[in-house]
């Protein structure tokens, strides 16, 4: 059984993101085990939020489709509980703090631990606000994933020192979404982090092609791809599974 403690032992990790409930939860349930089989080491399951301020248009639209389809946090928990035993990848939830806070932090994190979700990724909880979640996360053995960004500078090591699970390294300024090139010096940022932590560093934001993934994998322990996958799901809807599988295979092959 793969969890976040061994997900980075299989060469460079491929971390796939999708929005739960896009286009419906039944499709998400079929996708998750297939994405794992195709080579994803970690899957970030996005719980849709009405106002995803860290997302670009592609994931914003996916959130709107999922919410319009009647997706709720409880329905996502139930779906994940069913598929988790057949899903050979570490699972994480990616959502916004209000979704967790209003559900009840303890109720939410406890449920994660019960159904085999090993981490939460919450882009609007920075280092200074982590105690909103970390005491409860520690209690239930669920990792709270920390972010570093190109603007973090002197904050990199402060954040990296306490990072658990993996360190989410934001490749470029702005919101999520496909970018034609990544101009930030991600390597330098990761080198700084590596001075103070053994926690794996994964790069996300803007990666879509096998070539980009390969380059980013050279300087990190894994790559995170969201919008490119969500785009395929948007294009093929309920019939997206084989297309997503092919894409994930090509990406994992590129970074092997």
């Amino acid at each position: 059984m793969i969890n976040l403690n061994n997900a980075f032992e299989n060469g460079k990790a491929f971390i796939a993101f999708l929005t739960a409930g896009d286009p419906n939860l039944e499709t998400t349930a079929r996708l998750l085990p297939e994405i794992a089989n195709a080579g994803a080491d970690v899957i970030e399951i996005g719980i849709p939020f009405s106002d995803p301020v860290a997302e670009g248009v592609v994931i914003q639209d996916a959130d709107m489709r999922a919410l319009a389809a009647g997706t709720t946090t409880d329905k996502i928990f139930d779906m994940v509980e069913k598929i988790a035993p057949d899903c050979d990848a570490a699972l994480a939830f990616m959502t916004y703090i209000n979704v967790i806070y209003v559900y009840g932090v303890e109720r939410f994190i406890k449920r994660c631990s019960q159904i085999g979700v090993s981490a939460v990724i919450v882009p609007d909880v920075p280092f200074e606000e982590r105690e909103e979640l970390t005491p409860i996360c520690e209690k239930y053995g669920v990792h709270f994933i920390s972010f570093i960004a190109p603007t973090s500078r002197e904050r990199v090591q402060m954040i990296a020192k306490e990072a658990k699970g993996f360190l989410y390294c934001v490749s470029s300024l702005g919101v999520t979404g496909v970018r034609s090139e990544i101009t930030t010096n991600v390597g330098e940022m990761i080198a700084l982090a590596k001075e103070v932590t053994d926690t794996p560093c994964a790069v996300g934001f803007g990666i879509s092609t096998p070539q980009q993934a390969k380059e980013m994998a050279k300087i990190s322990d894994g790559v995170i791809v969201g919008s490119a996958i969500v785009k395929i799901i948007a294009e093929y809807g309920e019939n997206c599974v084989p297309y997503v599988v092919d894409y994930v295979k090509s990406m994992k092959d590129a970074i092997r």
Binding site: V99, Y101, P123, E128, T151, I159, G174
Partner: protein, 394 residues
Amino acid sequence: MSKGKFGIHGGQFIPETLMNAVIELEKAYDYYKNDPQFIEEVKTLMREYAGRPSLLYYAEKMTKDLGGAKIYLKREDLNHTGSHKINNCLGQILLAKKMGKKRVIAETGAGQHGVATATVAALLGMECDIYMGKVDTERQALNCYRMELLGARVHPVTTGTQTLKDAVNEALREWTTRVEDTHYVLGSVMGPHPFPTIVRDFQSVIGKEVKEEMLKKEGRLPDICMACVGGGSNAMGLFYDFIEDKEVQLIGCEAAGKGVDTEENAATVANGGLGIFHGMKSYFIQDEYGQIAPVYSISAGLDYPGVGPEHANLYDTGRASYVPVTDDEAVAAFEYLSRTEGIIPAIESSHAVAHCMKIAPKMDKDKIIVVCLSGRGDKDVAAIARYRGVQIYD
């Protein structure tokens, strides 16, 4: 450590990409707020450019007509650009310039904050981009053109409910994309620390002037201070200097749209629950899963599903109370003040006027109410005509 707390509210719930920007802003503000030269520059701009102090006007006809408490109107509508928003913009954009920023961005609902931002950006020679919900660009078309005249680019926001909340989302997204040379001029006492404090401080000139003028005119403090509340900047500006004066009652008037019990309202304190959104812990109108709910008000400036964290704390501690006012009541007040005093108030401010009309008649004649007239109503004339079924060309 979490910073910028008002009781349990506030904080800095924003992506890591923006953290250094708010930390630098806090440092700069802590320095410049004590810098005599900066203080003098802001004061001079407020006086020479914005036209401060604004008048505290005794509404004698209204007082006599309602037959109860004495009513004073704090005339923020007479400021340059026509609302209280200029107070914050002068302070914040001057601060941004001192920080070496070249460009300002802002969200706007009714367009008042957008106009004030565009105005000060023109004055101080900054590049300016304004984010405004598409629905709002339609109901406030005049303000859009006004911003463009002032040299700003207006970006209609087509996501979500296409109103103020979505304009804030888009401004936040734009800020993460270009943060080094850009300052986000948040227009209300909301968002991540230090914005609620900075905006409140620059708006607190409202309450300070009221206090000074009231002591001159009446030799005592008012019994009630009231203002409309969306995010809550004019209310916070009016309330702040009176918080320690426990005998002064503070009342915020929220937009109840078609009714506080209907689906279509924006009465956050009445209908909201505790949440964390737009950088702050506070009250928000949302569903059981924390999805932010669509809100509605005839007033684009109050059409927001949250409230500033300091207001949330004033509510928790019982220091201020918050009351819902419907579209119908606000429109009636808009028309009443126009006819009675010859003052056309903003539809936002009309919410406070409406509540004043409800309570003043029941109060003794020796009681004093101050209503903050946060803005002028020229921008709303076409919308009110439509509301009344009158066809005019705007």
